[in-house]
Symmetry: C2
Subunit: 283 residues, 2 copies
């Protein structure tokens, strides 16, 4: 296995297996063909054609969201959406634009709408060596139970920006105070598009670096992380290369950290493909 395999795994999206989901002139999602078929009975809310689906529901963001929620209710009963997460994500034509609707987090992959999250590399530097605070996800997490994770990571729920999500997740997941998280440095946006059991993940990850005080030990407050360990970055990279211990998308965040901090360098033959592969084009 190689670093590139980790990137390929997160980019398993196959255009031929999906149709675009349109809201007016904006493509807001990617529907896998089986998911599109499942929407056919809901023909007052969605129009399904061979080469694309259209959201028919009209009105305010609240009204459109309510109409789509009615469909999600059926999809949950049909087990096409695993469960209500009772947390909604904004669906907008692009980052920063007003939302057209809000979708329950559980239904995000079904519709293949773009989702945004924050990921924090909590690191220490000793001489030329980097260490990362790595969390182990709780065994009862729906996604990637027991896998290794960034110190702090979380999806951006409706109406919350990146900065507010960062502060909230830092406090809940790792007991990082509002005062400390202010020192986190925004360091870029990574993108990938992946087919999962339930549909398509079309994700943007805002990455932050936070140099951690020597005497700080993260501790979890929301039950989502079973424990933390401070690991040498070199060991983390070797584990990424040779195992599937890390959550699929966390591999990308850590590879990006290694690229940005000169731990992976141009002399590495896969360098160009790794550095470039952490970003995929929008369409």
């Amino acid at each position: 296995m190689s670093f590139l395999d980790r990137i390929r795994h997160c980019n398993s999206f196959d255009r031929s297996r999906v149709i675009p989901l349109w809201a007016g002139e904006h493509r807001i999602g990617w529907l896998r063909r089986d998911n599109a078929e499942a929407l056919r009975p809901h023909d007052r809310i969605f129009a399904i054609e061979a080469d694309g689906a259209r959201l028919l529901a009209r009105g305010s963001c609240d009204e459109v969201s309510c109409a789509v929620d009615g469909v999600v209710d059926t999809l949950v009963k049909e087990r096409r959406v695993s469960k209500w997460r009772n947390e909604t994500f904004d669906v907008a034509p692009c980052w920063g634009a007003p939302p057209i609707l809000r979708v329950d987090r559980g239904a995000v992959p079904f519709f293949g709408v773009r989702a945004y999250g924050v990921h924090v590399n909590g690191y220490r530097r000793v001489g030329d060596d980097y260490f990362l605070w790595i969390g182990k996800r709780a065994a009862n997490k729906q996604t990637a139970p027991g896998k290794l994770d960034n110190m702090v990571a979380g999806g951006i729920g409706n109406g919350h920006g990146a900065a507010a999500t960062l502060a909230k997740e830092a406090e809940e997941e790792a007991a990082v105070s509002a005062r400390l998280i202010k020192h986190a440095v925004a360091a870029g946006a990574l993108t990938y598009r992946m087919e999962t059991k339930h549909g398509i993940r079309d994700d943007v990850m805002f990455v932050y670096d936070l140099e951690m005080p020597d005497d700080f030990m993260p501790s979890n407050g929301d039950g989502e992380i079973a424990g933390f360990a401070l690991m040498p970055l070199a060991d983390v990279l070797e584990r990424i290369r040779t195992s599937e211990d890390f959550k699929f998308n966390v591999n990308l965040v850590i590879l990006d950290f290694a690229v940005r901090h000169g731990v992976l360098r141009p002399e590495y033959p896969e360098y160009v493909d790794v550095a470039n592969g952490l970003h995929r084009p929008f369409d």
Copy 2:
């Protein structure tokens, strides 16, 4: 104008205006259709078809390079290649692979082969504020004369790796010693594909950050830079946004610096498109 316009300008490549250039199973370049037509008389070296061109010359890297140089000689006379640069670039299936041939730098855009370069952000940090050492390109430079540039930048010639090119250019362009340039941190690879007067630039830029000592003042030794100034990053960004003062691809390097160091943040509406747009997919 906006930051995104700078990125779009460097990505003016239009697939419909070119055909791929193949060496065996590897696509090694993009030939604009007029350039492809100009190769027709050289039918022992290149085979031109409607949907692609093939390099016919066979043999060692030296032999293939020699055959193609014969063609370049004619292209220079025909003014399709502006001049011999007497510096050759490796042409390989991908970064790190053995070269199939070497092409004179002057002919690189004609064939649309991928080129690699190094760019150094020479910076100082005072409190929360960043400053960049910016060079002004000499008035007699063939490309982008008089435009503003990174402190150090240069193409990677045949057989030289990134690190050796970095050290050589740092010394020649800005009198940065071998001892100081060792502190440069490799920070990623940016990619763009642009149509120019002579063909296609398909470029990979290896970016490095170098924190500069307070008392260091770069000085040019090879006549390529007319002078240097230390500019506040905020001013540099405003100038990038509102003017064409910077060399086309240097805009990208500085936007990447601003993204990686949290000067441009997710709260900026174009953030996702800027951060993502600095990387374009390979094919």
